[in-house]
Structures are given as structure tokens and as C-alpha cells.
Symmetry: C2
């Protein structure tokens, strides 16, 4: 999906599919660390991340041998190694273009800052928005793209504009020196080779869900595994680490360290 010459792990190593899962593992590791857990087995970590444990071990083995046989992985050490591999030990200035609802949501999203992504600037071309404060940032004019990118050595750009402006913004980002782009606009961006584009399309995901929902509706509806689910839910609500002193939260469980249902 927008790799240029990808022999997957031809030259240096890590398969693309693995790279895509590392952030998930990292999130699970942070959650474990927050709960004060120092060591974790591949089985447990895999459950937290919602993947098969063999897959997790193979994935981690691409980074090196950071586990201890018979014991598991040291959470803190693994956090460091995964972060390092993903390039999160350095600071990544990010410019967000488009300060509509989506741009605003992105600017306010805590998950950015906590992973080393610093918002270098929030830009918009609507003069009614330029100058306002959003999440501690003053919205600047989209005319400043080149200035911002060069001044702050930005290499990652986020496009959160309406579709018609997206290609133009993209061109300007690229011309200014940005080589990684995260595109939220529902169009296919045209970029020179050497520039990495990833897209997130809200409606595409919904359409995929609709496809499966329709499949289910047409085929016999096998009822959403009633018994099994009751059981799992009970386990999650009640049996939260017997000797654990977790404070009861007002709404909802903890930070999501349970396994995704994978079924058979």
C-alpha cells in the first residue's frame, strides 16, 4: 500500500506486516507497565495485543533476542527496543494541514505527544480559523507551509483537508521537503517515488463492515456466541488479577489489555 520498492525485508530486515503490528505491541506494553507488571510472557502479551502468540514471538525475533527463555520479556526493556526500532526515541515534528473537526481532533489527541510526535504547526487556509487557539497552538495560515517545514525541519505531514485541496497541499508539502504523509482526505494522492504515503479513510472502514454485515445477514445468523461471551465478560469484569488493587473506574474497564476474540 504505497511502498516503493518493497522486498519486504530484503535489505535490512523487518517485514512490513510486522512493522504494522509493532505499534500495537507497544501500546499493550505501555498498558502493562502502567499496571506495574515488570515481566510478560509472549502468551500474555499476545493476548493483550489481540494476536497469536507464535506471531508475536516471530515478530519480536526480528528485532533481536530480547526475551529470556522460561521467563518471558522484560516489559520496560521491550518498550525501549520496540520504540527504538520504530524510531520513536527521537522527536518527530509533525505539521497538520486543515483545522476542521478532524484537524482539531488530531491536535487534541494525546496519543501523539506521548509517542514522540510534536505538533510543529496547525495550518488552515480559512482566514476565519487562522489565529485561533487549538490545543495550545495558534492556527497559522496554510500559506506558511514552506516556512514551517523548513524552519522546524518537519518530515511528516498530516493532511486533514477536504478532498479538493488535498493534492495541492500534498504537492506543497513534498516540494517543501516532507517525505512522509498521512492522508485523511478521501482521494489517492500522487507523489514522487521516495515519498511515503499512508491513508486513513473513515468511510472505507465502514464499507468493509457493511460488506461483512451483509454476508452475515444473508447467510444464517449463527447468534453471537451467547454462552462463550457471558463467560468472557464475567471473567473480565470480576476476575481482574485477584490480588490487584486496581481502583474502580467510573466508566469502563482498564486500558484494554484483554484479548480480541479470535474465535476458531
Amino acid at each position: 500500500m504505497s511502498r516503493r520498492s518493497a522486498p519486504a525485508h530484503g535489505s535490512h530486515g523487518i517485514p512490513e506486516a510486522t512493522v504494522a503490528r509493532l505499534p500495537v505491541y507497544l501500546r499493550a506494553l505501555y498498558a502493562l507497565a502502567d499496571r506495574g507488571i515488570a515481566t510478560v510472557s509472549s502468551e500474555e502479551l499476545a493476548a493483550s495485543a489481540g494476536v497469536n502468540s507464535a506471531k508475536l514471538r516471530k515478530d519480536l525475533s526480528h528485532l533481536g533476542s530480547y526475551g529470556t527463555r522460561g521467563v518471558g520479556y522484560d516489559v520496560e526493556y521491550l518498550v525501549y527496543q520496540v520504540s527504538r526500532e520504530l524510531g520513536l526515541t527521537q522527536d518527530w515534528p509533525v505539521v497538520i494541514v486543515g483545522a476542521g473537526n478532524l484537524g482539531r481532533a488530531l491536535a487534541n489527541y494525546g496519543g501523539f505527544a506521548s509517542r514522540g510526535f510534536r505538533i510543529a504547526a496547525l495550518l488552515d487556509c480559512d482566514s476565519g480559523v487562522v489565529g485561533t487557539q487549538i490545543a495550545r497552538h495558534t492556527v497559522r495560515s496554510a500559506a506558511d507551509i514552506e516556512a514551517v517545514v523548513q524552519e522546524q525541519a518537519v518530515s511528516i505531514g498530516v493532511i486533514a483537508t477536504p478532498a479538493p485541496s488535498a493534492q495541492d497541499v500534498c504537492d506543497r508539502l513534498v516540494a517543501a521537503g516532507v517525505t512522509s504523509i498521512l492522508n485523511f482526505a478521501p482521494i489517492v494522492l500522487s507523489v514522487p517515488s521516495g515519498v511515503d504515503v499512508r491513508k486513513v479513510d473513515l468511510s472505507i472502514e465502514l464499507q468493509i463492515l457493511a460488506f461483512h454485515a451483509q454476508r452475515r445477514a444473508l447467510a444464517g445468523v449463527p447468534s453471537p456466541g451467547e454462552r462463550e461471551w457471558q463467560e468472557r465478560r464475567a471473567r473480565r469484569t470480576g476476575g481482574r488479577e485477584p490480588a490487584e488493587t486496581g481502583p474502580p473506574l467510573a466508566l469502563g474497564g482498564d486500558t484494554g489489555v484483554e484479548a480480541q476474540a479470535v474465535g476458531t
Copy 2:
């Protein structure tokens, strides 16, 4: 990614990878239709969608033989067939839980309605937001989840809450009868088998970009194909369908029907 018993195209047909691309083709087809193009070859459509043409043909062949050899595909007919396969010819009521910036962005997103997704309700548990108007919808209390789902026969739920509430919201949606969930919260949801979950994680995409950016920075930087790019850009800006009467847009090109750079 959260399939239950997925032999991919074991029983009825279409591989998962193909399903994930159909919405992209559909978008490209709509863009072509808007430009008044009645017929398109696999080569052109593939370019518009940013994929290999052989892949496109194989993907479409899973739906049936809707092309004409020597000619191409009829745009309108293909739009219909793809829509039908994706289940977009029916109306899908969707409930959005969480009316923060993200929920607001989703509610305002035009790409929903235009694909048959109707917002059944917008819910939040913050009493300061409940009752306000967002995109023609009055925000209702999150306590109404069960009522809304049952009254309007909602089968798709969108979770746009902060992470701590997500699992609880998910449980309630599922208990109320929702079987498809789109999750924006950065946690792995636990659901019974039979429920389909897709996740969109903004920071994960950024982390993947960071990984590649770091790779590029470490290896020799081969300069983003200067010459080739200038050429492509010129072609895009100037050579817009010679005899085409497209009105000049204030900002940016058209709806993105150009090829993604794929490189070698």
C-alpha cells in the same frame, strides 16, 4: 484482523484483501462518473485507484464478468455492482458514541451519507454536550444506547470515546445487538465471536511512517526522484484531459483520479 472463521473466500467467495480495495475502486468510479466518463479500462481505473491493473482485474473478476473485452468496464454498471457487493444498496443506520472532536468530525463527514450510512444517533455521556446540535443531530445521552439500537435496528456502532470508556461502550453496544463495530479508541476491544471489529488508530499510522522515515534517514537518502516528479506534476497540472471543460478550482486539482506513485 478480527475475522472469526475466515477461510478468506472459502464459502462464498471474495478474498479479504479484495474487499478492502472495493471501496477504493468505488470512490474512483464515482470520480470518473462525475467527470462524465462512461467507460473505463482496467488500466485507467487501476491508475485512478492507485493499484496494479492485473490486481484490479482479478479483484473485479471475483464479482463476476462485468467488463467487455476490447472495451473496458461501463462505469455506471460497475458502480452498481460494486455497491451491491459491498451492501451499500441498503441503508445502514449507524450509531456514533462519543461527541468529542472526533465524533463531531465523523458526524460532519459527507462520505458517510453518500454511501448509505445514516447516522441514527450521536451519543455522549458528558451532560454538557448532551442536547446540543451537531450536524443536524441532537446529541443524546449515552444511557440511550440500548433504546437507540433497538428502536432503529442499528447494526453498526462507531466508538469515538476516550480509551477508558471504550470497552464498556462496546459491551453495551454488543449486548444491545450491534454486530459491527468501528473502533477509534486506542485499545484492543474484547468481543464475542460473531461480532466484527475494525479499528482505526491515528497514532499507529504515524508510527509506521516514523519507522520508514527513520530507515530512509539511516540509509543513504536517494533524493525524492526529482526529475521524474517534476514531469509527473507537470502532466497532472497541465494535461488534464485536453478537450475537457473542467472548471478551474480555487485550490487543488480534481477528486483524485491520478495514479499513486508506485515506483519500481
